[in-house]
């Protein structure tokens, strides 16, 4: 059973919240050259920042986590970006996260902590203003789930 709650920093939709860019990744020009930061970097920073919050068990939906396990095993993809979707503009970014929260944690508090940390990390690392962090809690984690699944798979 999946528990779902969506929270957002602003009521406006993500597609209208981020100033669009037309020249690729987030950049910063200077006389001596241009700095660009790939969208995948912003995704990964958001994923790392979300995982830093106590109470976050994993990122991504069940299918994404299963697929990530396969792709990581063959050296493709990065589990730190699973469950993360970003839209990056010239100076701003919006982030969508899908998370699994540990049972017993306050989802509003965990969500707020995620939102604050993701914004802090992205602003600090990539220099982008974070206009939205939309969080979908799609499952709860119960300690012992993995042991139970392992036990069941042995029987089958």
């Amino acid at each position: 059973m999946a528990t779902s709650e969506t929270t957002s920093h602003q009521s406006s939709g993500k597609s209208t919240a981020v100033a669009k860019r037309d020249d690729g990744p987030a950049g910063l020009d200077s006389e001596r050259g241009r700095t660009t930061i790939a969208d995948s970097v912003v995704s990964k920073v958001a994923g790392i920042a979300a995982r830093e919050i106590p109470g976050v068990h994993a990122l991504g939906g069940g299918a994404a986590r299963a697929l990530s396990g396969v792709t990581s095993a063959v050296g493709l993809g990065d589990p730190r970006s699973q469950g993360v979707s970003v839209e990056v503009g010239e100076e701003e970014t919006a982030v969508d996260l899908t998370v699994v929260v540990e049972y017993g944690e306050s989802i509003p508090q965990v969500s707020q902590a995620i939102r604050d940390n993701v914004a802090k990390r992205i602003e600090g690392i990539a220099g982008l203003r974070v206009v939205e962090v939309n969080i979908t809690v799609n499952d709860l984690y119960f300690p012992g789930d993995e042991a139970q699944q392992e036990s069941e798979s042995r029987v089958a």
Binding site: S30, S40, K44
Partner: protein
């Protein structure tokens, strides 16, 4: 008269590295020497790879400009630290490295693209 060549001697002397090749190499080496820069990256299109004397250099392109200078484009993997100051530090180090070998006048702009970030993890055991 030239001395007779021995069987072990190279048939042809290695070509002198071009200015473009030297700039590319020193720019990449200079970037990798900066703290929190982890590695070169082949870039979004895989174009930031050059095979030249001294092996393969992943993460750099040097391209000639009409004024005789060479613009350098670096694609890098970095630690998750503040990236814009890191890019400026990379530019400073590349400029310094070019000056040290007398290539400052040949260096154009230095574009820095961060294509990935990598956390500092525990050392991987040998053979893992």
């Amino acid at each position: 008269m030239a001395p007779p060549s021995t069987p072990d001697a190279p048939l042809q002397a290695p070509a002198r590295p071009s200015t473009r090749g030297r700039l590319a190499r020193l720019a990449l080496d200079g970037a990798l020497a900066v703290e929190n820069v982890v590695a070169g990256h082949s870039g979004p299109s895989g174009a930031h790879v050059r095979v030249a004397e001294g092996g393969t250099a992943v993460g750099v392109i040097a391209a000639a400009r009409p004024d005789g200078r060479y613009d350098v484009s670096l694609a890098l993997v970095a630690r998750p630290v503040s990236l814009h100051p890191l890019a400026e530090e990379v530019r400073r180090c590349v400029g310094e490295a070019a000056s040290q070998v007398g290539l400052a006048d040949a260096l154009g702009t230095v574009d820095v693209a961060f294509e990935d970030v990598r956390e500092a993890g525990p050392a991987t055991p040998a053979g893992a």
